[in-house]
């Protein structure tokens, strides 16, 4: 299948809802197939690539840091960036600046851009298709 440009709009914050996992699975499939992928993250989703996410031990389960091996979305996003590059595509991830400022989520991993809803319009206009994964 020829390379296409696909846009996803995400709203959910990490660590709260299965929609985050499903969204990242969809983005992974798109990157794996070599498509160019745009992501516009707004509201709580701007925390998905937040650079200061840290793994933690779990005293309830009695696991230490290493055994807990808590998954972090910033690592998944970085791996998706790498996957896209490896497959000849690209993952262009824009965090909504207003949403970032409201939440103090300024420090994102390398490669994440700050933008505005105008970027979402540009993404959609320049894409072959788009999917908005909204909170209910």
């Amino acid at each position: 299948m020829p390379k296409k440009t696909l846009t996803f709009a995400l709203m959910d914050p990490p660590f709260e809802n299965e929609r985050t996992t499903t969204a990242l699975r969809l983005i992974e499939a798109a990157c794996r197939k070599g498509h160019n992928v745009n992501v516009f993250a707004y509201e709580g989703a701007v925390f998905m690539p937040f650079a200061h996410q840290k793994q933690h031990a779990n005293s309830v389960k009695g696991t230490d840091l290493e055994n807990e091996n808590h998954p972090l979305t910033r690592i998944w996003v970085a791996e998706l960036q790498q996957l896209a590059a490896d497959k000849g595509g690209r993952l262009d991830w824009v965090n909504c600046g207003l949403c970032v400022d409201e939440r103090g989520a300024n420090d994102a991993i390398t490669g994440i851009r700050r933008g505005s809803p105008a970027d979402l319009v540009q993404f959609i206009e320049g894409s072959d298709n788009s999917l908005v994964i909204a909170t209910r």
């Binding site: 696909l6 499903t22 197939k33 298709n129 788009s130 999917l131 209910r136």
Partner: protein
Amino acid sequence: MTSYVIVESQDLYEASNAKSTLELCKNLASSGSNVEIVFVQNAVLGLRGREFAGLLAETAKSGVKFHADLISLQARGIRGDEIPGFVVPISLDLVIDAMADGKKMIWH
């Protein structure tokens, strides 16, 4: 002919408007569109048992193609023989291929 892919993520038992999605699918198919529905997350729970069997079968009879995310099924311990035969377990690659094909996408 317009093609639609509707991704249903809401649990039929909890979200009353998830049933409206099936109604939408049926109406689109009846008006001549190609319609596929993909059940993901807790939406797959409604595929098991008798509670929604009639509604699902009626929607399928209208020409709507049914898919269910295999990982969502497995995560909930739902076996292939527990869901209607017209529901095809799939990987989410199907959604990406549909997007790349230019089908109209709706997430619910």
